[in-house]
């Protein structure tokens, strides 16, 4: 009886966005009288971080500090339309819509600044700290707080912008099925190192090496969060989670957290994660979506590692001790020693 080590890998290519009906999302942006740019969205942040990404895209495009951006996702009844947060589309669709809206707002901001400073808008630049200044004459400048006030009370202008991202709709060619289903694809590979106890059938994931090509990681810490949180979920699906352990009989199915097993903080593999950046030409600042794909590659990687460790080829999840032991038994009957 022994603990057997194995290593396996799996790769995934994952589409960003879908393309039925063009999969659009909108963004609106306007400056308050004190120079806060409110980005209105109907996109929902459920922890994946779209509000942060939208704020980063708006700040970068406006040329203003991120503190000047407020993202409002409060109400899908009154907000500009979003198809939803699915298909790993949020960063790509919403990011692009926000950039378009912020670019229009920036244009107005520079026009109003040109009036205020009595110069040509083309001669103005933002410095990222809140000032709009004349290129080459940095002391001729106006702060966004003063400018937004002046726009409202003096110039009668709204500093605002509209944005939408719509991919050209594509339907399948009936003869071939050919279509253009997504906007870009992110790629990933996971290597799993496992230990299989051939007496108990317990599989332990010791290490995961995650490599993700994500276009551009707009926020590398959050991208890593997605990768490693997703990998945890992958491990959980691979080894623990099922609502129907004896499908189609539902008799022993878990009903609650007490019976629905997931790995806890003491069962974690060591994770090593690497982000590769090859900007996508249609992505916001080159970004692709990586939300959903992160739970995928660990599962087949673990299955392959189990095979490498003990020769058992499992095709049904989760890879429970029972399944491992049945697999080991089958191997022993095949080749009696």
């Amino acid at each position: 009886m022994a603990k057997l080590r194995g290593r396996g890998y799996a790769s995934v290519n994952y589409p960003t966005g879908m393309n039925l009906g063009g999969d659009p999302s909108q963004a609106l942006i306007h400056a308050t009288t004190t120079g806060t740019f409110v980005v209105s969205l109907s996109s929902v942040d459920l922890g994946q971080g779209i509000k942060t990404i939208a704020a980063q895209c708006a700040a970068e495009t406006l040329g203003l500090p991120i503190e000047n951006v407020l993202v409002d996702t409060a109400d899908t009844d009154t907000g500009p339309h979003c198809m939803g947060t699915f298909a790993s589309r949020g960063t790509h669709r919403v990011g692009n819509a926000v950039i378009m809206a912020a670019a229009e707002a920036r244009g107005v901001m520079l026009e109003v600044a040109a009036e205020e400073l009595e110069v040509d808008a083309a001669d103005l630049e933002t410095d990222g700290t809140g000032y709009i200044a004349v290129k080459g004459a940095r002391d001729k400048r106006v702060h966004i707080t003063d400018l937004a006030l002046a726009a409202h009370f003096k110039h009668g202008r709204t500093i605002s912008g509209r944005g939408i991202y719509l991919k050209e709709p594509s339907t399948p060619v009936p003869e071939t099925g050919e279509m253009d289903p997504d906007s870009c694809q992110a790629h990933a590979c996971t290597v799993a190192v496992v230990e299989v106890d051939d007496e108990t059938g317990v599989v332990e994931v010791l290490e995961l090496f995650n490599t993700y090509e994500v276009g551009r990681a707009l926020n590398p810490a959050m991208a890593t969060q997605q990768v490693e949180g997703g990998a945890w979920m992958g491990v959980s699906h691979a080894l623990f989670e099922t609502t129907e352990p004896y499908y189609p009989a539902r008799d022993h199915g878990p009903r609650d957290f007490a019976g629905y097993l997931m790995p806890g903080p003491a069962d974690l593999p060591v994770q090593h994660s690497l982000l590769l950046e090859r900007p996508a030409d249609n992505g916001p600042y080159g970004a692709k979506g990586i939300g959903e794909m992160t739970a995928n590659a660990p599962i087949p990687a673990i299955a392959n590692a189990i095979f490498d460790a003990c020769g058992v080829r499992l095709t049904a999840m989760p890879f429970t001790p029972e399944r491992v032991l049945r697999g080991l038994d089958a191997l022993r009957t095949e080749e009696p020693c």
């Binding site: 922890g47 806890g264 903080p265």
Partner: protein
């Protein structure tokens, strides 16, 4: 059994309210006192997101009948920050990216507060043990463990410089 008036010391303030018999501490905090940081995840003691401190001990507020803790000192996440200043655990959670959807965060932070109150220098194993009754679906736990260790370090550092 009739409803009764229950008095608690909540985050340093004496609060009185009427509780139906068997009402849970969680329901009273959320519905009678409007303190909604503690969440109702499972209502059966298995997820930990309802954790509050009862006389310094972390408890699953969904399992506590409020009349059994009448007169106790209750600490909830609302009582952790001082004015607008986050404490070390809260700020370490932000800095270490230890939260995604945030549903587990109130319970995780309260468990961490209780741990650091009794042990300012916990080992990684102590932290894991402390949060082992709290479910997180998003982070994979690792960033939470790191954040709590970081909070402990910051709190020790502050204790030295004070």
């Amino acid at each position: 059994m009739p409803s009764q008036i229950v008095s608690l010391d909540v985050n340093g303030e004496r609060r009185e309210f009427i509780a139906a018999p068997g009402a849970t501490l969680l329901a009273c905090l959320r519905e009678s006192l409007g303190l909604t940081a503690a969440k109702r995840g499972c209502a059966q003691g298995a997820c930990g997101t309802c954790t509050v401190l009862v006389d310094g001990r972390p408890e699953a507020a969904c399992l506590v009948a409020v009349e059994t803790v009448a007169g106790s000192a209750i600490r909830t996440l609302e009582g952790v920050a001082t004015g607008g200043d986050l404490d070390e655990v809260q700020s370490a959670f932000i800095d270490c990216f230890a939260t995604q959807c945030g549903f587990c965060t109130p319970g995780m932070i309260m468990v961490a507060e209780a741990l650091l109150d009794r042990d300012p220098d916990p080992s990684e194993a102590d932290v894991i043990e402390a949060i082992s009754g709290n479910v997180c679906r998003c982070t994979g736990y690792r960033p939470i463990v790191i954040a709590i260790l970081e909070a402990a370090r910051r709190r020790r550092e502050r204790a030295v410089t004070r």
